[in-house]
Symmetry: C2
Subunit: 508 residues, 2 copies
């Protein structure tokens, strides 16, 4: 009976009387409220209460502002969007139904650096939070909340909210206790340095400290996290990984890095996960990660003896990997820590540690400006997430993408990015399956040369060379022909291809 | 006789024999070298050696890579550009002759966040530095170099260079000694937290420590810094200041700030300086600055009793203000500190202190993306400077500009920024003389509404409203009509005006 074991997980006995149904817990949430929910990259989100809220909204409409850590699993954003519960959503999402509502202007989406949301909450530039809903594996004898597979913004949500609802998830192993390191930076202007000096620094508490009287309801659940939707590596992602490994070997040979490299960060998704897999057969050793989401590759690197320690804000795994890892979590735990996303993504720590940051671009332009979010400059995909936190402050900021999309109809390298999330100032290296361009210390005209020579699919190389040549003849630090700069996107928007077949080079 | 007093300023007597002419000192610099020179916002630059180098290059051509703190005074970049000495220049400049050479593709300009250059040098991603040329008011008994009116990157240049040339400037008061705080972050991955916890923290040495045997030459000079080229406040800059003061008063009333506000940063130039002057008649008190350049307004705020402490990397003043301040520097010194630009602009410190950052935009778009650097998307003005260091990590990131330029022919608010230096994620508030738009926690469609209603000149309001309405009808998180998005810049480039008079609203 999960219920029995659930009661045991609530060590502060007086809180056991707060156990209610999801519907009753959701009744604390009213129209117009600001609600903070756990969940980061489909891991550790509150599950029962948002579903109960969506169900209620179908007959009794209400609108809330929903703030999470990052994306939610279990189709929660879909359910909430389709029930028209979301007036406002931040700071990240990755759900197709919600995306449609955002692009239709039905949901006001605030696309925010993941490290910043709680800074805004703490200073009341955002909020206040009325209700926090946080998934937990247990509650300590003092009423502290022990998170599950993510920390995200849960700690600050719970600390800052008027009321806290705990979803006690008995399908999550209690052995996760001790994995989390809850540190909240002190208030400005009297903030102390954050004492994290390495990926393995432990500087906080293993639970979220809240006064027990703030816990308004506890809901017992047993629904698991959604598995990762990252795809397996393929020939192109393996080629991207290979180019990056070659580059890093060159950095070691040049004496700029050791074979331990520097702490690694990798964005969420197929390509970043596949790139991390590339380290398994690399000459590097004793690696560490200081990242936001830990994917399958993290545990494959542990198992391969390549990785010494991994710090993140969530663990998001495929179904088979989740089963294997959770069954053996006690063995991995000494080499793992999950932190609030404010700390995992904190500019102070990222700059201090000297992170090698690997994030995925939707497209980049010939000068190295990166679009991470907007299809054809207008339509939101997911959001900037933590990529800006890392790229801006990294030792080395790498962006990866396949050189084409939609079966070759779109080039991922374009004359001018149709939307800029990362400016050329924050982009050191770009990699596609074609090759790698090292843009460090180069002027824009030099960057264009490197990118076109190394990263562009042969189909598009001639068209881009032609563009940059004609643009350069007009002069300028960053040459462009404004009339043509977005023409590739206009054609993609209208006809699904960036360049007419007539003007494509013969395939190499 | 300056020469006598100059010798006394070299307290390590053995170094006195290193005194040579500027020409002889410049002979240490050879074709192909990487040279680091002092100088930040026209303050404290090495003067005699670069002029001697330019003179020599006119008969004996050579090319170097020149790295400075930021912009140079005394027409040095002009002299060097016109003598074709510069193959590569970073991380900032503001000279019209050099700008022409950059835009013509003759000088490879690397436009870099000011906090990052020495990180790249230290990790050998850039450099090594062959020769450092540093202006000083004196040399300590141990051979330490005491900088003049700026620190910039001088400390790391001197520490990392093979050879150091000191320009001992006897026109700079020796009383500047003690003003500087030279702290160099430790090497990664074992870096300690930087111990700066307030604008007035002193954490380093009052001189640049270098082994005396590295000092290859000392040149005695008496040429002063160029005066600031900031213009006096006018009705429009006063209106910008007024809007910002009103906004900050609202923040105090809402309990989000106290009347001491938070440490202030202001970019270089006329508008930022004028905005800072607005604090003189404000209700705020006991203010502090944690900025990069300290301009006339800093000292006016001291004199008005509004400012308690100012931290920067340089002091750049008008001629009369420079005379008054330097004559009285002993009185100001306890409330001043000059730091390496890596520290004044460090993401770690900026985020920790909670800076209110005020920087100047060249233009911004209806969604709040800021262009700080490129005219019509292609031609470099000066560079991003420190604006990205501050905007990205500030408590509050404010961008200011007049609503129009060129007598109204250009709107500073455009459909789509023709170049993006600061993405909407890093822009909280925009201000023109028309008004202020508070963009915090708003989705792009809401941002457009606020910006058009509050910041746009009445001449352009209708045209922008029309654009955004038609764009929004097409859908998207960030609506645009790609065919028209850059049309304002195309017309400006070709005909000098962004919108044909026919399509301008009747002047309000």
């Amino acid at each position: 009976m999960p219920h029995t074991s659930a009661r045991d997980r609530i060590r502060l006995a007086s809180l056991r009387e707060k156990i209610v149904s999801a519907e009753e817990a959701a009744s604390h949430i009213h129209d117009g409220m600001v609600v903070g929910m756990s969940g980061f990259t489909r891991a550790g989100e509150a599950k029962a209460v948002p579903l109960a809220l969506a169900a209620r909204a179908r007959t009794h409409p209400l609108k809330i502002s929903l703030i999470t850590g990052a994306s939610l699993g279990n189709d929660l954003d879909k359910q909430l969007a389709e029930a028209h519960v979301l007036a406002r959503r931040m700071p990240f999402q990755s759900d197709p139904a919600l995306r449609r509502a955002i692009n239709a202007g039905e949901v006001m989406f605030v696309d925010q650096h993941l490290s910043e949301t709680v800074e805004h909450l703490r200073t009341r530039q955002l909020g206040p939070i009325d209700v926090a809903v946080v998934e937990a594996v247990g509650i300590t004898a003092d009423g502290g909340i022990i998170p599950t597979t993510s920390v995200g913004n849960s700690a600050s949500f719970a600390i800052l909210a008027e009321k806290v609802i705990v979803e006690l998830n008995v399908s999550q192993p209690l052995a996760l206790e001790g994995l989390h390191d809850i540190y909240i930076p002190t208030r400005r202007p009297f903030r102390e340095p954050i004492p994290v000096v390495g990926p393995d620094s432990r500087v906080g508490l293993p639970f979220i400290p809240v006064p027990p009287e703030k816990i308004a309801a506890i809901v017992i659940t047993d629904r698991g996290d959604s598995p990762s939707n990252a795809m397996p590596a393929d020939a192109e992602t393996a080629a991207i990984a290979g180019h990056l490994m070659g580059f890093l070997e060159g950095e070691v040979a040049a004496g700029r890095l050791t074979e331990r490299l520097l702490p690694l960060q990798a964005g969420i998704g197929t390509i970043a996960n596949a790139v991390m897999m590339g380290f398994i057969d690399s000459p590097f050793r004793d690696l560490t990660m200081y990242s936001e989401v830990l994917q399958d590759s993290t545990f494959d690197l542990f198992d391969a003896g390549k990785l010494n320690f991994a710090s993140g804000s969530s663990i998001t795994l495929s179904q088979p990997k989740a089963e294997a890892v959770m069954a053996d979590i006690t063995r991995y735990k000494p080499r793992l820590v999950l932190r609030p996303q404010e700390v995992s993504n904190h500019p102070e720590i990222i700059r201090r540690l000297g992170i090698i940051a690997i994030n995925t671009a939707l497209e980049f332009d010939i000068y190295g400006n990166v679009n991470s979010t907007h299809v054809n400059g207008t339509h939101m995909m997911n959001g900037i997430g933590g990529s800006g936190d890392f790229a801006r402050n990294a030792y080395l900021s790498v962006f990866v993408t396949k050189s084409t999309a939609k079966g070759g109809a779109l080039s991922s390298v374009v004359p001018m990015a149709s939307h800029v999330d990362h400016t050329e100032h924050d982009v050191d290296v770009v990699v596609t399956e074609i090759g790698l361009a090292d843009l460090r210390e180069l002027a824009p005209r030099e960057r264009a040369r490197e990118i076109i020579a190394n990263c562009v699919h042969p189909l598009y190389r001639e068209a881009l060379s032609d563009y940059v040549e004609r643009a350069t003849a007009r002069g300028g630090h960053t040459p462009h022909i404004l009339e043509e700069a977005l023409s590739w996107h206009i054609r993609a928007r209208d006809g699904g291809r960036m360049v007419e077949p007539l003007h494509l080079a013969a395939t190499a």
